[in-house]
Amino acid sequence: MTPLLAHDDIFQLVREPIDPRPLIDHVRAPEDGAIVTFDGFVRNQSHNRPTLYLDYEAYESMALAKMREIGAQLHEKYRIHRVAVIHRLGRLEIGETSVYIAVSAPHRAAAFDACRFAIDTLKRTVPIWKKEYFEDGAVWADGELPPAPLATRGAKPAS
């Protein structure tokens, strides 16, 4: 169920509600001193329009590949121990978690920085889309374009 990689990280797309506890337990280890988590959940409005619910879809194979790339970048850039990144797809109600990230590290600064980098990069580069449903219709959320270097075939983050 849990795909284990070289760093023993977790990257998952799920359709059921996200339970953060197993993710936190997974990244936590005796040699660590800090875990920073990010819980992204469904807001009740968008541009001051009350939202009914959201529907997320993904290019799943590519999204997982991009999530793993983010994990690899985190280990290159920061002194962290383990990462868990999970994103939910399908219909989500107000207040439900859409994305959850947990990063463990020996010291807090790296965990904070890596967690921030992970969510910011996910929102720019992972092919996931949300449709926002309102009383009077539905729209695809304005999204973000991947930065130019990532949009070029073969481009890899500096290593």
Binding site: Y59, S61, L122, K123, W129, E144, A151, R153
Partner: protein
């Protein structure tokens, strides 16, 4: 090699609003020549004129990796047209 046109079979995927515009999520296409991603998008824009207005905001991928518009397609490739992403 004889100078015959080769058939290139590609799988094409559309996501988000592009899927709504095109009216389908995926299609397998036999192309008769060495197409670039740009030409493939133009092929669909010819069929569905509304698609053309999304060209500047679309990013393409080939085999699950972001690809430039000039990328040439090969048989078995999976090409996806991706509107601006909005996960998280």
């Amino acid at each position: 090699m004889p100078p015959v046109a080769q058939t290139v079979r590609v799988k094409v995927l559309f996501f988000g609003r592009l899927k709504d515009v095109v009216g389908q999520a995926e299609e397998s296409l036999d192309l008769t020549d060495a197409f670039t991603i740009e030409q493939l998008f133009a092929l669909y824009s010819g069929r569905i004129p509304e698609l053309a207005k999304y060209r500047s905001s679309v990013v393409a991928s080939r085999n699950q990796e972001f690809a430039s518009w000039g990328t040439q397609l090969h048989s078995g490739d999976e090409v996806a047209f991706l509107p601006p992403v909005s996960g998280g």
